[in-house]
Symmetry: C2
Subunit: 198 residues, 2 copies
């Protein structure tokens, strides 16, 4: 059985960077953007479309915006199909080799897999705002805080829609790390030590 | 400035035991029941009363039970007084010496203290039910799951009432550890390493 780490993360928490640092230290592959390519291949959808949709359902968006109504059934069918492909790719990856999978409800999809360490990386709004301004630049007309809140809301709605669980609830994970308070290196060290000893 | 660890914990998660193990390893005192004695001394209330009330306000109880109304003002005044004493004792302890403080909103009370590591210990309902049956015995007519849910609800209501934050939300802590999945020793080791390196 392969040892897997899934990393859920808040936007701007550096979860993706911590995943890469952990993968390098452990010598195992990290699937983040690489996952998109695989889902694209499997589903026939364009990578850009998946990047937009694989963590934000149209229905999730509706819920996040507080709208209701009949929705767009064609879009919902496409969402359901994409979710199925995403699930398939993640399960196959986890069966193939030890690896780290970032986001995309991998923790939920692999919830019954014994040898899977489920981590969640988060940080305060202030720390995340600081980080997205530094890393992504001040590209938006919105304040960083507004962008973060919107992104949190959309990811949360997606997660709840497919998993029936609250996103960021510690009970969905084995460990939750505040990257802003602990620092990236310490987060990496903790994940590596849990992976090695497990 | 003293280094402090605050440990919030779910009932049955073993948070108190992990606090003791961590304190022993680090050679610093742990305040849990010891805290009750100090609050009793400061407030003039009996220790048993504080044990019952220091994490369960009367108002919290009302909220948890979904009741509303005018409430009992005398009781509410006593609650407010007790909270004030609890706050005073925790702040004084943190100023006096490096230590570990279990529960009682210490994470919130010490939120502006730079050298304070805020941890939350939790576990699945199944693991906690198993533990409370083993440790406390099958003393209640209620199922362990029902007892846990009630206790969670009451602690949560108390925490939210005094802190305006959601209990168990990772953002209130620097690290959240699933003691059921990781094991007590590993939780202790992570806390010790964070304390030593901080």
């Amino acid at each position: 059985m392969n040892k897997i780490i899934t990393i859920g993360r808040e936007f701007g928490s550096g979860g993706r960077t911590i995943a890469k640092m952990t993968g390098e230290q452990l010598g195992i592959p990290v699937y983040d953007n690489e996952l998109l390519a695989k889902i694209a291949e499997e589903s026939g959808f364009a990578k850009e479309y998946i990047s937009e949709k694989s963590e934000h359902t149209s229905l999730g968006d509706l819920v996040a915006r507080g709208l209701s109504g009949f929705g767009n059934y064609t879009q919902m069918t496409a969402d359901a199909y994409l979710w199925k492909m995403q699930r398939k790719v993640i399960i196959e990856l986890a069966e193939k080799e030890p690896c780290i999978i970032v986001g995309r409800c991998a923790d939920y999809i692999l919830r019954d897999k014994a040898d899977c360490l489920k981590a969640f990386i988060y940080a305060s709004l202030e720390k995340r705002a600081e980080r997205i301004t530094t890393v992504y630049g001040d590209v938006s007309k919105e304040t960083p805080e507004k962008r973060l809140r919107d992104k949190d809301k959309r990811r949360g709605a997606f997660y709840s829609y497919y998993t029936d669980m609250a996103w960021g609830d510690p009970h969905n994970y084995n460990i939750c790390l505040d990257s802003g308070a602990l620092g990236f290196e310490k987060c990496r060290d903790i994940l590596c030590s849990l992976y090695t000893e497990k």
